[in-house]
Subunit: 263 residues, 2 copies
């Protein structure tokens, strides 16, 4: 897959940051713990949107953002010189010392095997600490179904067959509750929020996913076919997201949240 | 229907207040408008949980809570002497002057005909003002389906037949978006959050709904049958909400939110 494009990703920053803010709001620490003592990890930090929120919320904390994309890490470093950023794979996250907050906004969906991943991440949380994650839960939505269907069309299937990185279905809220609460004394909170982003037109929906969900479909294609794939996708978005009373489209976007506190 | 029981209703205050807080967080006013100038209406204020949040968030504002239950209003007055509380029916809400914020937490589901109600409430909002509401969206959930099914059992059907106040299905997020954005320059935000409340056992789920959703079913019954209805309901909750890894039950509770700002 081509490296991520920080400029395109940040185009919808306000919308993409809202879930991170909602998640962060549920990460509370006892008032007697000064922020300067907190060690925080931001897994899959991207260009640093979520890391910036963490730095604003916990001034003085030692914050490290991890990502597998050098382009994203460079953008994050330029934006937040007070934080550390390191190349790191979530699937192999085994720090020398545990963190007080292991935070991950819209990244775990790219890692397989949550049944083992989630307990493994929880083990990196220090006693009294918090694990907090948000995962897009939109695989069954028209926006995602359409990309998989277009990939099967004759124009694209020969080039994409077997090659498309399919995201594994994530667990249910009940699964995450069980995986997080099974071992030891834990307080676990799981919820889903279905945001509805008003989009100017169908093209805007294509732009939204061009920097994320569409990447595995368009990156393997030569430029002309990649453009054709996006044009087909815009047609489908036009059909599947009807015009609302004010002329815009409502992009429903379900996201699953989990916050677990170690006793 | 018997009058509401403020003590029972407030037993799950923390859980019931969370959606009101989430709603309130999206009600923002320009910084140049001092709170003292704001006129706020809390429709279906109950014992004042949501009104207390409004008073905390907008100190100095003129806040009036409306409810159809005198018992609830009495409880609210005792709790919040700085606010006004008045008997008022949401369906006929036509104040002399518009409000800067028309707020309603978990009340509109008791009023029929949202297609006309929602635009009517929006008309009571002053220019630059906000309409903000949260509605439980759980009619298709096991907790609600079970009450309707039990009401059809031979023990209860003769006493409840035709008598049970059935809540009308509420609209979709797209409906509310259209109803709120159709007229005039508006910014509309609609979303759903599915909370998951960990409950000690099945009985706790019965207790939760005894003060709200179960009322239309158990209030018309004599005491012994009302107790029998609740016992049957607890059996069903035991069956329909399986024990999780930590021994508790997860009560999923979807709630629909809408916030509209008048241009």
């Amino acid at each position: 897959m081509a490296d991520w494009n920080p400029a395109l990703y940040t185009r919808f920053e306000e919308e993409r940051t809202r879930p991170a803010r909602d998640l962060l709001r549920r990460c509370e620490f006892p008032l007697d713990r000064p922020f300067e003592m907190l060690r925080i990890a931001d897994l899959g930090c991207g260009p640093g949107n979520s890391t910036a929120l963490l730095a604003e919320r916990f001034p003085g904390a030692a914050i490290t953002g991890f990502d597998t994309s050098e382009a994203m890490l460079e953008a994050a470093r330029a934006r937040l010189p007070q934080c550390r950023f390191a190349l790191g794979d979530i699937a192999a996250f085994e720090p020398d010392d545990p963190f007080d907050l292991v935070f991950s906004n819209a990244a775990l969906q790219w890692v397989l095997g949550h049944r083992t991943l989630i307990p493994a991440l929880m083990r990196q949380v220090a006693p009294g600490g918090v694990f907090a994650a948000q995962i897009p839960d939109n695989l069954a939505d028209p926006s995602q179904v359409a990309m998989r269907e277009i990939a099967l069309e004759p124009d694209f299937a020969p080039l994409l067959a077997g090659d498309v990185e399919r995201r594994e279905a994530i667990g249910t809220r009940e699964d995450y509750y069980d995986w997080l609460s099974a071992a030891g004394r834990r307080e676990v909170d799981v919820w889903t929020t279905i945001y509805n982003h008003p989009m100017a037109d169908a093209q805007a929906i294509t732009d939204w996913f061009s920097s994320t969900g569409l990447k595995p479909f368009i990156d393997p294609l030569p430029d002309d076919l990649s453009e054709r794939f996006k044009a087909r996708y815009t047609q489908e978005m036009d059909r599947r997201y009807p015009v609302r009373a004010d002329g815009r489209r409502l992009l429903a976007f379900p996201r699953l949240f989990m916050v677990a506190r170690k006793g």
